[in-house]
């Protein structure tokens, strides 16, 4: 009898240990603690280009997380990406004219949304739309813009080689047009 009590004690300790490990993995390692399920309110924002923004990407304000991206869809009427942001309930006083920008963490890191407050007295409510948005910077566009401005500078600096100028003009025509999706 005493031996079976020992076995039960050990099994209890083992199961508790395993559950503690699971709890640790859930809370400390994963983002379960950030899941505030259906809490908070949802605001919408339209972007021309969301880049590689993902659902559950953080929404920050002055670098502090205030919410998460809850859904990304494409609006057929506006031909724009519709991003829904779930803002934590404690941040219930964001001005109505808050602007949203898609930024990249580090040079090649994950993309996230940064909010900058405006000055309005009215606040964002459930279902409000953020009007001021700035799309993601796509790396390829950035590179071609850079090349364009560089070539532009060269064109001004020297007009001695018309062949090269013509060649570069042809290349330059591309980036002016709206970026490919």
């Amino acid at each position: 009898m005493r031996q079976s009590k020992m076995i039960e004690l050990w099994v209890g300790v083992f199961v508790a240990l395993g559950l503690v490990a699971l709890f640790f993995l859930s809370m400390q390692v994963s983002n379960l603690a950030d899941y505030s399920a259906d809490e908070g309110y949802v605001v919408k924002a339209y972007f021309d280009n969301v880049g590689s923004l993902k659902v559950r990407a953080p929404v920050t304000m002055s670098g502090v997380r205030v919410g998460r991206v809850s859904q990304i869809t494409f609006d057929k009427q506006k031909f724009q990406a519709l991003v829904e942001l779930r803002i934590d309930p404690k941040f219930d006083n964001l001005p109505e004219d808050t602007s949203a920008t898609i930024l990249t963490a580090g040079l090649l890191g994950e993309q996230y949304i940064s909010l900058s407050p405006g000055g309005s007295d009215l606040t964002l409510q459930q279902g409000s739309v953020i009007d001021l948005t700035q799309s993601a910077i796509v790396f390829e566009q950035m590179v071609s813009k850079f090349l364009y401005s560089k070539a532009e500078g060269e064109k001004k600096a020297s007009s001695s080689s018309p062949v090269e100028k013509n060649g570069s003009n042809a290349v330059q025509a591309e980036p002016v047009a709206p970026a490919a999706p």
């Binding site: 079976s4 240990l17 395993g18 699971l22 390692v29 994963s30 953080p58």
Partner: protein
């Protein structure tokens, strides 16, 4: 000609064994309600399969985590991305190494013991004797062991992952000077509860079924001689390893394939 005959014979024998093992599993599962009414039988098996495996699992987890921390740091520091060390260690442990290495160790530590135990019980007529006492040996002996393995495996895998993360933390933050906060926050934002933790638990549950199933079936199907039991034990470990790795590929493709 002879080669084809042999090939055909082997294939048929394998199919037959596969069929037997499935019928066996059904029989084992039919004993589950009876065992749940007698939890003491179950706790004895959770003890011998789970509790007695804690040490090997924890020690292996610690070292795997430490090696991950060391190797990860070497690679990541080349890109100036040491902050991602926590993510790397945690993701590889939770998604892959935790469930898979635990299952392999479990097959070696507990699976082989299960096969040998049941095989010897068969060889020494204990199972037969039980049948003559009007006790179904599959329900009385095999079912609690199967359930015990099923319960022990996810808990052991979680333990392995937790100890591994700590090992990685110890090496990365303690010895190599990665920033403490960056280690945890990066992990926090990149490891998803449903995609990573729950999928890892599902994996280890599947491995638990596969490894214990193979172990108890090989034991029950062993030739009742000492040589037969020895062979069955070897087969149990080898087949378990194959099955775990194969299942891992399929599960990974299903779970993480589209990401």
């Amino acid at each position: 000609m002879n080669v084809f005959i042999r090939l055909g014979e082997t294939t048929l024998a394998m199919l037959q064994k596969l069929g037997r093992s499935h019928l066996f599993l059904l029989h084992v599962l039919s004993g589950v309600p009876g065992i749940l009414l007698r939890p003491r039988l179950l706790s004895a098996q959770v003890f011998s399969l789970g509790v007695l495996s804690i040490l090997i699992i924890a020690v292996s987890g610690l070292f795997v985590g430490m090696v991950l921390g060391l190797q990860g740091f070497n690679v990541l520091s080349d890109f100036g991305a040491e902050e991602s060390l926590g993510v790397m260690v945690a993701a590889s442990l939770v998604r892959e190494l935790g469930p898979v290495v635990t299952a392999l160790l479990f097959a070696g530590r507990a699976g082989s013991a299960l096969t040998a135990e049941i095989g010897l019980m068969k060889a020494t007529e204990q199972l037969s004797g039980m049948e003559m006492m009007a006790v179904d040996p599959i329900k009385r002996i095999v079912t609690p062991r199967f359930l015990g393995g099923l319960i022990a495996m996810p808990l052991l895998a979680a333990l392995f992952s937790m100890v591994g993360v700590m090992g990685g933390f110890f090496v990365g933050v303690g010895l190599l000077g990665v920033d403490d906060g960056a280690f945890w926050t990066a992990m926090h934002t990149h490891i998803d509860f449903w995609d990573d933790i729950i999928n890892g638990v599902i994996k280890s549950l599947v491995f638990g079924v596969v490894v214990t199933w193979i172990a108890v079936f090989e034991g029950y199907d062993a030739l009742p001689t000492s040589e037969g039991v020895g062979r069955a034990t070897t087969r149990s470990v080898v087949f378990s390893a194959f099955a775990v790795l194969g299942c891992d590929f399929v599960l990974t493709a299903l779970m993480f394939g589209d990401a």
